[in-house]
């Protein structure tokens, strides 16, 4: 992805999208060795790797990837609060995947169709993200329409994460996409999948802990600080070292 350079890429947008991918990749990486079935060890790692690849391209548009990932403080991260939410049980991870990958697929498809600085990345990433969304959809169907217990767990997960979904449709400086149109299509798509999974579309408010858009402004949730502490510890313990 060398078609665009830091000079032309809007830094705010590159950080927002790059941090989303970085943080969700990290959370999915936490599943390694803990997945419910061997096929999911492979699938979750695969999604995490795709996201990490996207993050590296996006962060490199904004600066040095490692400096940005390892040396920023929590308040400087611009990711959605949704992606930093702890894995929870498999249903929570799948609900988070459904909400985020549906958004990411719609957003990247639009970016790929345009001629802005993110078009080359989005054109490649949208193919990966289509798989992520399909994976989330298939599991939402299995869990929602599986057993009584899996149905209840999955409904709880969808409800719990619902309040973090409004943030995806706040305008981001440097992105020319139409957030309202994106939101309409996102709601249609998620409503369709939840319906087929015999789940109820949650009714609560769709804004975060403070206001919708908090993560994009550097306001995160409590578990995020611990996640960063773990992620950054080794790198920060050896200032200036190469790895």
């Amino acid at each position: 992805m060398t078609a665009t350079g830091p000079a032309t890429a809007p830094v705010t947008a590159a950080l927002a999208l790059g941090d989303d991918a970085l943080v969700l990749s990290h959370r999915l990486g936490e599943w390694a060795g803990h997945a419910p079935v061997l096929e999911e060890e492979v699938a979750l790692a695969n999604i995490a790797l795709d996201l990490l690849g996207q993050a590296r391209v996006l962060l490199s548009l904004a600066g040095d990837e490692d400096e940005l990932a390892y040396l920023r403080e929590e308040r400087a991260f611009r990711n959605l609060q949704l992606v930093e939410q702890p894995n929870g049980d498999f249903a929570h991870t799948i609900a988070r995947q459904l909400y985020f990958s549906t958004y990411q697929q719609l957003l990247y498809a639009e970016l790929a169709a345009g001629d802005g600085p993110f078009a080359p990345l989005a054109a490649k990433a949208v193919k990966e993200v289509a798989y992520h969304r399909d994976h989330a959809e298939q599991w939402t169907l299995r869990l929602g329409d599986g057993t009584q217990s899996s149905h209840e767990r999955t409904q709880r997960a969808c409800d719990a994460l619902w309040r973090f979904t409004g943030e995806m449709f706040q305008p981001v400086e440097g992105l020319t996409t139409d957030p309202a149109a994106l939101e309409t299509r996102w709601l249609e798509s998620v409503t369709d999948v939840l319906g087929r999974a015999t789940l109820t579309v949650p009714e609560g408010p769709r804004s975060g802990a403070w206001t919708a858009g908090a993560g994009r402004q550097g306001l995160h949730t409590e578990s995020f600080g611990r996640m960063l502490a773990e992620m950054q510890h080794l790198h920060r313990s050896h200032p200036g070292a190469s790895w």
Partner: protein, 338 residues
């Protein structure tokens, strides 16, 4: 295999009396195929002991892949650069993939992944003892790649010519990926070896801890190895434990020099007469203790594996229930089998 037809012919000749199949002709065809370096395939007749030896060995290998994910996954969330993190995640993912191929290879012998996992969880089947050692620093990820994967490749390359076809073919692919793993470990240690004094010390400490357990990976000395002779006769195994161990030591010595690291063995020196390196004696008491379950992480590894399996039970049940509802089938899908 070329003699499969011969075996089937032998079968028709001896199938005359129901219930009293004379296996002599099958045995001759099997022996001839092995002697001619042909592959035995799942539908071919094979001696029961050959089948059970293979199931034991392939299952142990598959279990080693999935337990082996744990010590390395321990560092995914702390990898010190995004490049290293991507490499490590890909490596751990490969190991899950190897587990999948190997359980599938074992299934061609008439067992199931469920059954094998149950044996792992209840201690009736083993995994490589090397994974009962902890990964204490980032350099351990490098030492595992260089030494543990290096030893594994030395053991496994000959398995690509193993007499059992599905196992041999799985090993071809696995060895290609393992070779990448070994190189990434070497390259990781090289960066540390040439890095700051703290990084160099971290690398040396890791090599000090992993060297002797890696030599133990080749198994007990030839005169104490209970399965070796028969396995060599069947061409499941092609070189003795001691031969492979010597090959590994000879490969590692010059590599350690290039890394700027030392191997923790004062008796290690080149023997001109033998054309090999002499090395110190291995602490076999430690080997047998770890094998018996008294290593630093035996309990932890199996507990984590069982917890992941138990906590995932509702997910597998949901997938089975969904498949039964929507395909009218039994719910036996790839996603529900483990």
């Amino acid at each position: 295999m070329a003699t499969a037809a011969a075996q089937r012919t032998a079968g028709t000749e001896t199938d005359g009396a129901p219930g009293t199949v004379d296996t002599t002709a099958y045995q001759h065809a099997f022996d001839a195929a092995v002697a001619a370096d042909e592959r035995i395939e799942p539908r071919d007749w094979m001696p029961d002991a050959y089948r059970s030896t293979l199931i034991r060995q392939i299952a142990q290998h598959a279990h080693s892949e999935i337990i082996g994910m744990q010590p390395e996954a321990n560092w995914i969330t702390r990898a010190p650069s995004l490049r290293r993190k991507a490499i490590l995640m890909a490596k751990v993912q490969d190991e899950a993939g190897h587990g999948l191929y190997l359980y599938s290879a074992a299934e061609t012998l008439g067992t199931s992944r469920d059954e094998l996992l149950d044996k792992l969880h209840t201690g009736r089947q083993k995994y490589s003892s090397i994974f009962n050692y902890p990964t204490l620093t980032w350099a351990d990820v490098g030492a595992i790649g260089w030494l543990v994967d290096g030893a594994a490749i030395t053991n496994q390359v000959p398995l690509c010519r193993c007499s059992y076809g599905p196992y041999a073919r799985a090993m071809v692919r696995i060895c290609k990926e393992e070779s990448f793993h070994q190189r990434q470990g070497y390259e990781l240690l090289l960066a540390l070896g040439k890095g700051t004094p703290e990084q160099h010390a971290m690398a040396q400490d890791a090599v000090n801890r992993w060297w002797w357990p890696s030599l133990m990976m080749f198994g007990p000395p030839d005169d104490e190895s209970q399965h070796s002779a028969q396995s060599m006769e069947w061409k499941i195994k092609r070189h003795s434990n001691d031969e492979l161990r010597q090959r590994f030591v000879d490969i590692c010595v010059p590599q350690a020099e290039s890394l700027g690291l030392t191997l923790p063995d004062p008796d290690l020196r080149w023997n001109e007469e033998r054309g090999h390196h002499d090395f110190g004696s291995i602490d076999w008491t430690e080997f047998w203790e770890v094998l018996k379950g008294n290593g630093p992480c035996n309990e932890q590894r199996i507990t984590q594996r069982k917890r992941a399996h138990d906590e995932g039970a509702w997910v597998r049940e949901a997938a089975a229930a969904y498949a039964a509802k929507h395909t009218g089938g039994t719910g036996e899908t790839g996603a529900t089998r483990a």
